[in-house]
């Protein structure tokens, strides 16, 4: 664990207490069983907003606390542990986009509402089964003073709840980003029922008209900006993945220490011990990458993209291993729906896939290094 300031320690401790007491895995299970398209519990989210979690990366003048991305990562690590379903990550990323490139008017209009949790934000970037942000087909054409958006976006996380969509579109000059209200005319959401039971939607944009003030940043120059926004999403997600992996590991470790077969605790068998040691090693290596990426974002370091791809790739591999081992080491009960192992497994695959999987990020890491 990175050496934290007192502020950060308090934030983390508060997050840990709240998630363990108010939002254990059983709370997520309830959300799942309720089958609600939103994919999260609105009352719980309201509590998180009240604790300021929705404003961690938003400047104080808009009602945030501006603690930064490492701090957000501390919270997400805790929510990741208990598989807490909430749009904090998605909203923070959308808010982050506006903090990076918004006009004063855009900041005034959106950030306060995002900080208070009144509006949920979402990133609408993917257009197919594989994350490939450079490839954009959704069009934005000039319509009077404003724009008209036509096309489709897929797998928009928190799509069903989103009151703000940050959309990548092709304009004459190249790639541009737009801030589109979730209930704008022409926006049609199709909620998806995913294996990890979180909220997501395919969204059609059927001639959606937005004003000139919806353009985020410069027209045609959205590529680098989108990269920066996505890097924040990836780093934040990696922090959540770290939490999930840690809890999956710890639950499994407990099982190794309590399950008796052949007259002794199965954790005494060396083959299992060494597999546990491997997971522990990978978790420590992954933590270093995740913390370095989040810190680099806060410090606006030169190596942000490299460190982010490093973190997403390494954390993805570790989570992949740990989520599989959790089922395998629990044996038969790990296969039951009643046990938590299946929940961690399903969530893991979704987290690995979002914003680019391991292969995507290995490739990106290599490109950034020049090979």
């Amino acid at each position: 664990m990175a050496v934290l300031t007192e502020e950060q320690s308090l934030l983390r401790d508060a997050a840990r207490t709240w998630t363990q007491e108010k939002s254990p895995v059983s709370a997520f299970r309830k959300v799942r069983n309720s089958g609600v398209a939103l994919g999260y519990d609105q009352a719980a989210f309201a509590e998180m907003a009240e604790m300021g979690w929705t404003g961690v990366i938003i400047p104080e003048e808009y009602g945030g606390s501006d603690f930064g991305w490492l701090s957000l990562g501390l919270i997400l690590e805790e929510t990741g542990r208990t598989l807490t379903a909430s749009p904090i990550l998605s909203s923070s990323v959308a808010a982050g986009a506006i903090v990076l490139a918004g006009t004063d008017a855009q900041k005034q209009h959106w950030l306060t509402k995002l900080a208070s949790g009144e509006v949920v934000g979402a990133l609408a970037v993917d257009e197919g089964p594989h994350h490939n942000p450079a490839k954009v087909a959704l069009k934005a054409e000039k319509a009077g003073a404003g724009w008209k958006l036509t096309g489709k976006k897929t797998f928009v996380l928190e799509g069903p709840a989103a009151g703000l969509l940050v959309v990548s579109a092709k304009t004459d000059g190249g790639v541009s980003l737009f801030l589109v209200p979730g209930d704008a005319k022409g926006v049609a959401k199709h909620a998806l029922k995913l294996a990890d039971s979180r909220g997501a939607a395919n969204i059609d944009f059927d001639g959606v008209e937005v004003g000139a003030d919806a353009l985020l940043g410069e027209e045609g120059k959205g590529g680098p900006l989108l990269d920066k926004i996505l890097d924040r999403a990836r780093a934040a997600l990696a922090a959540e993945m770290l939490g999930s992996a840690l809890q999956a590991f710890e639950t499994t470790l407990d099982y190794l220490k309590t399950r008796v077969q052949f007259g002794q605790v199965i954790g005494s068998f060396q083959a299992l011990q060494h597999r546990a040691a491997k997971m522990f090693t990978d978790l420590e290596l992954s933590r270093s990458c995740v913390e370095a990426a989040l810190t680099a974002i806060d410090n606006d370091g030169a190596e942000v993209s490299e460190l982010v791809s490093l973190a997403k790739a390494k954390m993805g591999d570790t989570l992949h291993l740990v989520s599989n081992e959790m089922v395998q080491m629990h044996g038969g009960i790990g296969m039951t729906d009643e046990h938590d192992a299946g929940l961690y497994l399903k969530r893991a695959r979704a987290q690995e896939t979002a914003f680019g999987g391991q292969a995507f990020h290995r490739d990106r890491y290599a490109r950034l290094q020049g090979f």
Binding site: M1, A2, V3, L253, L256, K257, G263, Q264, V265, G267, S268, F269, Q270, L272, Q273, H274, A276, A277, K278, F280, T281, E284, L285, S286, R287, S288, C289, E291, A292, L310, A313, K314, A359, R362, D363, Y365, A366, R367, Q369, G370, F371
Partner: protein, 406 residues
């Protein structure tokens, strides 16, 4: 790094600066102990003079007591010394096992006579030490060692053999774990100092798969050892040995170990790949599969590097030692070995040379390094033992029923 010294330290700093100017031979600038010490005593006259100078001030072992030939410096002063030496490219010529492991251990467990006898020559690099621990039948299970030490009234009589005694062929003395009681395993071990020139001591160097090595087999046949060479109490050797191994590990961790020349912090793997493997039109390594694996390796290496930094920072803070330290040896060995394998793959046929024409020095070194590197996951606590330590001490997993644990 911040320097917290006050005026006194600044005075010391000035003194060090002057002394270095007078005593550090500029020709040695930027070198290292390893360069000159891999073998018998250095013959280079500059090095000999430098050793003598550092031996006189005791600054080769800066925080050891002055009365015993050490520098008698405080921690801050030692830090200042290190900074100033670094600034002029000076390096510590006083080293070896005496400095890294045995000296600190003797300072804790030796009696006055032993300390007076052995510490000053270490401080002056006049005496070289070797370690008599492992035996053919006692590797990972070191405590099962058998080298016998019998009480003959006015002396000890030692019979047995040690293996992996590094530098034994050039060593003057050996600190040795011997069995003084065959009825008890750990409590039957004692810590004995043996003069390598004693009759009955024989040394045979061991050739490794990588070629020559400093490792030896050492045979003790009816070797007589003075009674006063027992360190600590009879049967107290295991505790002392454990402490000594802690010193060894701290020493290795500090320097990042001796894991391969060029190690983990040298140029990234992909730069070498670009020299030996074709590039495609985009300038990327043309072999997809190789490129993915190199990327995977570089990610691991980077993660390891970040973890080394993190564990250092965490250990220094109030939180105490970082949980990450336990993984370092295994992770570091594995990554270094992967790098060696990838290097050979990248070199292709150029990575198959043993010696001679058709291969440059770096290519030959890569092969030797690959072979020698197989040892990283074996010595100093094998990968399996490290996994056991992680499993049991960090993760709290139990021993199997009926097993002999320690």
């Amino acid at each position: 790094m911040a320097d917290f010294g006050g005026e006194a330290t600044e005075g010391f700093r000035a003194e060090v600066k002057r002394w270095l100017k007078d005593h550090f031979p500029p020709a040695l600038k930027g070198g290292s102990l390893l360069q000159y010490m891999e073998g018998p005593s250095p013959r280079n006259s500059d090095v000999k003079a430098w050793i003598a100078a550092m031996g006189e001030t005791g600054w080769g072992v800066p925080t050891w007591p002055k009365a015993l030939g050490g520098g008698g410096l405080s921690k801050e002063e030692a830090r200042v010394l290190a900074q100033e030496m670094n600034a002029v490219g000076a390096w510590n010529p006083i080293g070896g096992m005496g400095v890294m492991m045995f000296g600190p251990t003797l300072l804790e467990y030796g009696n006055e006579t032993q300390k007076q006898t052995h510490i000053p020559p270490i401080a002056r690099s006049e005496i070289r030490w070797c370690q008599g621990f492992s035996e053919p039948g006692a590797g990972s299970d070191l405590a099962s060692l058998q080298t016998k030490c019998e009480d003959k009234g006015d002396h000890w009589l030692v019979n047995g053999s040690k293996i992996w005694t590094s530098g034994a062929q050039w060593a003057d003395w050996c600190f040795c774990l011997v069995r003084t009681d065959t009825s008890k395993k750990h409590e039957g071990i004692s810590f004995l100092l043996i003069d390598m020139k004693s009759p009955g001591v024989e040394v045979k160097p061991i050739r490794l798969i990588s070629g020559n090595s400093p490792f030896c087999e050492t045979f003790f046949t009816d070797v007589k050892v003075p009674k006063e060479n027992l360190v600590g109490p009879l049967g107290g050797g295991w505790t002392i040995a454990k402490r000594l191994l802690q010193h060894e590990r701290a020493g290795l961790a500090g320097g990042g170990g001796s894991m391969g020349r060029g190690g983990l912090f040298a140029a990234p793997m992909h730069q070498l790949a670009k020299e030996y493997v074709e590039a495609d039109e985009g300038g990327r390594i043309a072999d997809d599969d190789l490129r993915s694996r190199i990327t995977g390796h570089e990610i691991e290496a980077r993660a390891f590097q970040l973890t080394a930094i993190r564990s250092l920072v965490e250990s220094r803070s109030n939180q105490g030692p970082s949980s990450a330290t336990s993984i370092m040896k295994n992770a570091g060995s594995r990554i270094a070995q992967e790098r060696a394998e990838l290097t050979l793959e990248v070199l292709g046929a150029q990575g198959l040379g043993w010696e001679g024409e058709g291969f440059n020095a770096d290519e030959l070194a890569a092969v030797r390094g690959w072979l020698g590197g197989k040892a990283y996951s074996i010595y100093g606590g094998s990968a399996e033992i490290q996994n056991n330590i992680i499993s049991k001490r960090i993760l709290g997993l139990p021993d199997p029923l009926g097993s002999s644990s320690h």
